[in-house]
Subunit: 540 residues, 2 copies
């Protein structure tokens, strides 16, 4: 490509050359060689360790990234940049692809996803408008219809009418589940605080005018207390106020407490005519425990009270593709809107949130036009969307569906749930551990609860129990941190809060990597037992 | 990889294999071959035409994308999917890389961007939290500091203190400029409607409570009428109401009219104590005309009236890297927040919006925590961010800055502005055309205004002028459409609205592709002249 650093900028011709198709055999060979280094060099570096190290070493590391100047001249050639990323950056990244990384909703992805992401970058289409995407906008509509159909199962005539109808919107691709939830509540807010005589709608006039016109003083959204924090954030962003995202307690299975929910709905509807319920949110796979709310009963409550029903299936959504476990999401077809993340259990690279709406016209409540794009009636997908310019992620998801088939995704889902159940049995077999939340999908929580403390617990009164629980929390925090810092495996940690119980620190395991098998999980438990014995022997 | 379709899913071992590093030479060779096809196959297809075709052919095309079922078994092997994307999809995509595509803010990107995007996908880090990104979060902070420094130029001690300080936030990567503007106004709203005695802030309690507590009835944002529609959308989303994003008229140079702005500010501050001004937005590169608002004067107004000053430099931001034209953005360093898009003039692939804040603590007004991530005090970048999970785009921008240097980007900016000025002269030389808005940066608008109609215009009264203008609009709409449908080149079209003038339909040219030179532009004008002559000969 270029021989020296200065050549790259000093010379306009050289700069131009990087924008066009390299014609010389040597240039083409070099570009392919770089790609080869990327494909296999990164794999080689990532295969070793999970690699979440200590805070201290992180601090040291950060001292190498403090220069805030941009060089006038190029600092590195492409070749050196790629080598640097492979040799200096990758070893300090987190090996989310390791089967021993069971701490978060990020995992290995099939290698072909990297190829598909490359195609997306190379085509560089922008689906905000037809003039920068054309066939890709059409393909996106089809991919959205495919997932919509898995959720809402509305039959051939519906999809025939809407799949390529510019007036319809079946859903949106956004960056992540946070923006998908925000989009869903944005629509729900606008439908609830809709235009009426003398009022042109909340989107135009704002919340304060909407409340005045609708004769209320606040609006609320009801969610389980295990809801993702993005729902609170959406409340803040949308001007509802995040305090008005009201958490409802959960039952002993970590599902929203239906009796409590009904009480809350009735109390508001009967005694508080200054408050409107904008939406009720069911979760299909809570972030902390992977549990699924009782969706059919929640749908029923929404239908009786004419409340927007949103289901946050960012995690659990792809379970719909499993013949064996699809029933766990029953009721989702009654939702008004649904969030699903492609970068979670569709195993796409980062950046693929999605939101779906049962009513293909409901997004008219958030439509925007401009003179230069998104003209009314056009196929421009930016008309009804929170985001404007964005990558053509539908190319990746659409291709992945073709390559994997529903059956392929189904097998991955089945593996995760079956392995999580197996893991739960193993935890229950080991005296040192307590299974705290059993897996409904493929997430479970557990903690170290040594037999001698279990015994003490049974004999203890409330004060003593509090002290014991604090001690358990300290033990689990320390073991989790030491395991993380050892770098071989990673289980995350969270604090489960219940109204009538002490806060419980637990390990959280997310089983989505198909390479994570029962042996992997036994090794992880072995390591935790060893860390506990080595660290707390003196405590006993 | 696999021999038949059924093998791919019927067999769990086969499915697992796609998640691990291929060890056999044959598999590795195949993966590299696919990458080679992607790199050069797409280039080959894209080199021919711009390819925005007629609506009719689009309708035909869309009939091939109506199947909304997901196959149970895999439909295609990876090889066939890649071939399909290259042979069936790419030819119907838009060749945004063509030098003749001068209609939108999307263009050719350097080929190395594709490599960098591939690395990002392969590493698949998620910067929402340190536990899924580690060094990438640190690198992101450094990249943010580099751009922050270009904007605000705050000196060594500032950047030394903040570049790696977990308590500071210099900016965010988001999906696009729309979300960047939304983030900026979200922060501005929360700072303006801040907590006070008996009120815990708008983020917690919502807009209605905030207005009650602050004793107001509405809040507004002042922008030029040429502002991007995302600002109106942000007003809608944030609960302010998009009608309260107040457009201020522009002067004869399409910059916000300062006298009008001052009048509006004074009127609100002196006579309307029920209205608060949340923010004032200056534009550094309007979408339609590429003009830069008078930033120093606007900064002065904001400073005198203690109003948040946001600059939407989604388009113009990278001009800061040009020694020759940096001065065009003077005053931006006085902004409180700034939007810049990486996928525009940093030539990154889609999906790189950015927002920057001068005050490294101002984003505390939008901080969110959760039990499992984003714990207070952690380095988790998701604490203060609209979006949660997202791709590690900083890897791409950071590497691109190393490869290009400020100097390389500067040359690209200089080329765009110089070429646009040259194009403006050429337009002025040709009798058939009228230059409507001269380029301040690298965007200009013009229209066909045949000499005989110019003559008629000079003699016409108001009614006649209206009729003539309508006729001109029809001519320009038709020529733009015919040129687009011919598929050789693409100039976009917009309608310029001024308060005291008729709506003017114009061609809009965005000169950012380094392969677009004066010859290209002359060819585009030649084509427009020919289309006009062929189509409107009978009109004359």
């Amino acid at each position: 490509m270029t021989n020296g650093k200065k050549d790259l900028v000093a010379n306009w011709q050289t700069l131009q050359r990087i924008f066009i198709r390299p014609e010389s055999e040597a240039s083409r060979t070099a570009l392919v060689k770089y790609m080869q280094q990327i494909l296999f060099g990164l794999h080689d570096f990532l295969k070793e360790n999970v690699g979440i190290t200590r805070e201290a070493s992180l601090l040291e590391l950060s001292q190498q990234f403090t220069d805030s100047r941009i060089n006038k001249n190029p600092k590195k050639k492409l070749e050196d940049v790629i080598r640097g990323l492979i040799e200096d950056i990758a070893p300090h990244a987190v090996n989310v692809a390791s089967p021993y990384f069971i701490g978060h909703m990020t995992s290995a992805i099939p290698f072909f996803m990297v190829h598909l992401a490359t195609i997306t970058a190379a085509l560089n289409q922008n689906p905000v408008k037809l003039e920068t995407s054309k066939v890709v906008s059409i393909l996106e509509r089809q991919v959205l219809a495919k997932i919509h159909r898995q959720i809402f199962v509305l039959g051939d005539p519906f999809y025939k009418e809407h799949v390529q109808n510019p007036q319809s919107t079946l859903g949106n691709f956004v960056e992540d589940g946070t923006l998908a939830n925000l989009t869903a509540l944005w629509v729900a807010r606008n439908v609830c605080l809709n235009p009426k005589k003398g009022f042109s709608g909340v989107e135009k006039e704002g919340i304060a005018a909407a409340y005045r016109s609708h004769g209320i003083e606040r609006s609320v959204v009801l969610v389980s207390r295990l809801a993702h924090y993005s729902l609170r954030k959406a409340g803040g962003v949308l001007g509802i106020g995040n305090e008005n995202i009201l958490p409802v307690d959960v039952d002993e299975n970590n599902r929203i407490d239906l009796a409590g929910l009904v009480r809350t709905v009735d109390r508001i509807r009967e005694n508080d005519n200054k408050t409107k319920i904008l939406a009720l949110v069911g979760i299909a796979g809570t972030t902390e425990t992977g549990t699924v709310d009782p969706l059919p009963e929640m749908a029923q409550i929404c239908s009786e009270n004419r409340i927007h029903f949103h289901v946050d299936a960012a995690w659990g959504g792809p379970t719909l593709l499993s013949g064996k476990y699809r029933h766990l999401l029953a009721g989702i077809e009654q939702a008004d809107s649904v969030t699903i993340d492609g970068h979670k259990q569709f195993y796409l690279p980062m950046g693929c949130g999605m939101v779906y709406f049962k009513d293909p016209y409901i997004m008219n409540s958030v439509a925007y036009h401009a003179e230069y794009i998104n003209r009314p009636g056009s196929v421009d997908l930016g008309i009804r969307s929170l985001v404007g310019s964005r990558a053509a992620t539908s190319l990746v998801l659409g291709s992945a569906l073709d390559i994997m088939g529903a059956g392929g995704y189904g097998l991955l889902i089945d593996h995760g749930i079956d392995t999580a159940r197996d893991f739960a049995s193993e935890i229950q077999k080991r005296p040192l551990f307590e299974l705290v939340t059993a897996p409904q999908l493929n997430i479970l929580t557990y903690r170290i609860f040594p037999p001698e403390l279990q015994k003490a617990w049974q004999a203890a009164g409330p004060e003593k129990k509090k002290a014991l629980n604090n001690r358990l929390n300290r033990i689990n925090i320390r073991v989790q941190r030491q395991q993380r810092e050892a770098g071989k495996s990673f289980v995350s940690r969270t604090t489960l809060k219940r109204t009538r119980e002490e806060d419980k620190v637990v390990f959280r395991a997310v089983i989505m990597n198909p390479m994570t098998d029962p042996d992997t999980l036994r090794e992880i438990l072995d390591e935790q037992e060893k860390i506990y014995q080595d660290s707390f022997l003196s405590d006993k």
